[in-house]
């Protein structure tokens, strides 16, 4: 109780100090829009506003490091782990002051131990796991349903357009898994020239059927509007689309699990602003808030105590724990993304990917976009 009181007084002080100095304080959070952002608004941002009186603005972000060099630098970014590692390496984001962020409380004498392994990073804190996977339009496959990643690449048995993220993420792994490479060996093999070659060869086999998307929101809508029969996307967004009545099913085979990380871009800050940013992160990584988010959208919190708190979906009434990417029945054929590998091979993958795309353009004018 004492600790809570201290914390409360601390929050009040920081609130008053910032409001007194600047009037209404504000924070701009760069995040991913759509159903994910809506869930964050409900579970995290609005409660933070109520608790501190700070106004939380959001800025659209779709995973490009260019945001760190833009004029409109947000206060906090919800970044993928791979990007966070690169940004940290390039010193574009702050090292986190964990003395301010991880506060001991009654239940957690050592809050670090409450987080899953490797989620406390020098420049950011991994707060949730999400899955990138393939979903398909039920209306298109009334007979046999696609069930594996190999089916995604099988345009004879499962004809139709495939919507994919226009980036060298995920697709290379999937292409190799479809070649029969065991999930454990994906990054080992993708690290060789031969592995890359085979992956692109596999992509070649479906090149005429690919529709590229840039914004994660498009994935589900391409399916529901019938423009694509299968699409890659994030499990939370597909889940939300399902709740909205879209007839889509997720293929958990070869799902790729990755983390989202809270980071603070480097910029000149007043002390009070720094305190406010730390307060925000401290607020959103509280176990009860993480659990609340996971009850709206099925992304797995990085705190063990938060995982234990996840209950039922507010409207639908089913257990949200079973919907998480890390639910045991989803893990049989899950690939955990090697974020370091991603960070260190980003340039190479981009070069290879764009070369391949341009080859496509030169060789075949039918590219869909």
């Amino acid at each position: 109780m004492k600790a809570f009181n201290h914390f409360f007084i601390f929050l009040l002080c920081s609130y008053f100090s910032t409001t007194l100095l600047y009037g209404q304080s504000e924070l701009t959070i760069a995040t991913w829009g759509g159903s994910y952002e809506n869930a964050q608004q409900t579970a995290l941002f609005q409660p933070f506003e109520v608790a501190t009186g700070t106004l939380v603005n959001t800025q659209k972000y779709s995973g490009d490091l260019a945001i760190l060099n833009s004029d409109l630098l947000p206060d906090i970014i919800d970044m993928t782990l791979g990007d966070a590692l690169i940004a940290c390496d390039k010193k574009l984001i702050h090292k986190l002051d964990y003395k301010q962020i991880l506060i001991k409380d009654k239940k957690h004498e050592n809050p670090k131990s409450d987080f899953v392994k490797h989620s406390i990073l020098p420049c950011g804190i991994a707060h949730l796991s999400y899955s990138t996977l393939i979903a398909y339009d039920e209306r298109e496959f009334t007979g046999e349903k696609p069930q594996t990643i190999s089916d995604f690449f099988d345009i004879k048995r499962f004809p139709g357009k495939r919507a994919l993220n226009k980036s060298p993420s995920d697709i290379l792994e999937w292409a190799l898994i479809a070649e029969g490479v065991p999930i454990d060996q994906i990054y080992d093999l993708l690290s060789t020239e031969r592995g890359m070659r085979i992956a692109f060869r596999r992509l070649d086999s479906i090149r005429d059927e690919i529709i590229w998307w840039d914004n994660p929101r498009q994935a589900a809508s391409l399916l529901s509007t019938g423009k694509a029969v299968m699409a890659s996307g994030y499990n939370g967004r597909f889940f939300s689309a399902q709740l909205d009545g879209a007839p889509i099913t997720m293929i958990w085979d070869a799902q790729i699990i990755d983390w989202n990380v809270w980071v603070i871009p480097k910029q000149k800050d007043s002390n009070s602003k720094t305190v406010l940013k730390n307060n925000f992160i401290r607020f959103v990584i509280k176990a009860e808030n993480m659990a609340k988010l996971a009850e709206i959208i099925p992304y797995g919190p990085s705190r063990k105590s938060a995982l234990r708190r996840i209950g039922l979906h507010a409207e639908q009434g089913f257990s949200m724990r079973d919907q998480l990417p890390t639910a045991t029945h989803h893990l049989d054929r899950a690939l955990f993304r090697d974020a370091n590998w991603y960070a260190n091979t980003q340039n190479l993958r981009k070069t290879r990917f764009w070369d391949w795309l341009n080859q496509n353009k030169m060789g075949d004018a039918k590219e869909d976009n």
Binding site: G180, D184, D188, S191, R194, G195, I198, W341, T345
Partner: protein, 575 residues
Amino acid sequence: MTSDVTFIRISYRIIVLTLLALTLGSIASLAAIAFIEAVDWMNDVLLISPRSRIQLNNPFLLTAATVLVPTIGGLIVGFLIQKLTIEKRPLGPADAIKAVQLRTFLPDTRSGFVSTLASLVSLGSGASVGQYGPMVYMGAIAGNFASRLKLDIPNIQTIAIACGVAAAISTAFNAPIAGLVFAHEVILRHYSLQAFAPTTVASATGYVFANIIFDSPPLFLVHFDGVAFGYEFLLFAILGLVCAFLAVIFMRLLASTSAFSEKLSLPTIFKPAIAGLAVGIIALQLPDVLGIGKEALRFATIEGAFSSGELILLLIAKMVLTALCLGFGFAGGVFSPSLLIGILFGTLCWTLLDFISIPNSGVVVYAICAMMALTSPIIGAPLTTILIVFELTHNYDLTIAAMVSVVFANLLAYRLHGRSIFDVVLASKGVDLSSGRDRAMLENINILTLDNTDFANLKDTYSIEESLIQLKQVGRSAGAITNHNNIYLGVVRTIDLIGEESQAITNLIRKDMPVLNEKTSLWQAMSALEGFTGEAVPIVDSSNGELIGMVPESELITAYQKIANDIRDEENEGI
């Protein structure tokens, strides 16, 4: 009362052997896992693994590391082996086989550990050598330790080494049955109930560690739907025969590189570094040659991953570099390179088959068949390799296909070269196991180890009378005659002296007497004594002709019988 004692003794043996097998299984298995982890870690840190290489965005550093890491690794290995081991060579499965077959000791423990460390450095720095040999030897070291305990169990050394080796193979391949069979097929070379139970327990323990506790990823996972055409079994047999030729070429290459290296007038300590430099330079163009080549092994079963040209190039490079690395003194085995060479060759053969449009069941089965058909005659373990396929793939069709190839490969390679590379290596060191274990054991015993002091030494100056008195005193019916320089002149028998008092003793020397020397083995002595009826045989120094002593025939027969009994007991002991 007697049955009570027997019951207690047997219960004691069962309990002790079970505990011993569990302990050895755990130790050998943990050692094997630690070894694999350490190699992987070193490969990552030293920029050998593709996964670490691709993440280094510094071409200069990458080039430097590619050339320097194997070279410096070679220098370290040279130093370790030449300065810190007594044997001055890396130790491996052949030494374990020798110790078990001849019932002798392993080379000293320090050499064993240093040799293991040297193989860790070799593999860690990307030398083209295998990892299973060192793991088998670690299992043997563990077994050897156990055999020094005073447990009062017959054949404990043999059983303990077999247990350690079984657990190592079981862990390495996630294949407990293969581990058990390997210990019997390669190390014990016979089947005995006494060793069977403990090696099974040790092998299962290794499997539990590898599969359940540490959840190590399998060596390869392949998908195979079955053999589509009956005539393919004929193709598998032919593939086996062709693989036998390649296996023999590879083994001859290994032997001739070793011979070449020995002739090379260069300090032995620097030789591994030369091989390392060669690996590094070739790896600049062909990074697949670095290390064990897990990635290439995996790619070989993916259709179209390699072009035929790439396959041939990598095949030759891997064979030459492995021969160079092992011949020039890197520490490591031949098992993993053989697997890689075999699988590449299988893929090449399938490419040819596909090219001439013979309908077939796909690349996987040909790759796996050739992998095992090439490896099996090299390590002399047909059953083990068949079982490895079965346990790794859980695929019955694939196992049957591999079995056909393996059997034919072994038949032919045995005729062309010998049972295994280990046997050939041992034979070159005077341990010939090809004519049976009894002969090898007899060959391994020098007659000087038998008592040769109890005999009558007669001087050529003695009169017949003096000689007879001397013979009577010693209680012998024959004696050896020497001159004043102790030079051996011959043997005389009491029966020939009686009634010949007027003769000079040198005139009565028997002509048909076999003579042994200080190098004679028990086997040679037994052969020399065929048809001989006498009491004792003289041993004469081959360098100066001096008499060393006389070994009584009864000593020879006792020693021979002891070995025969030991072998019989070991191979027929129940528990």
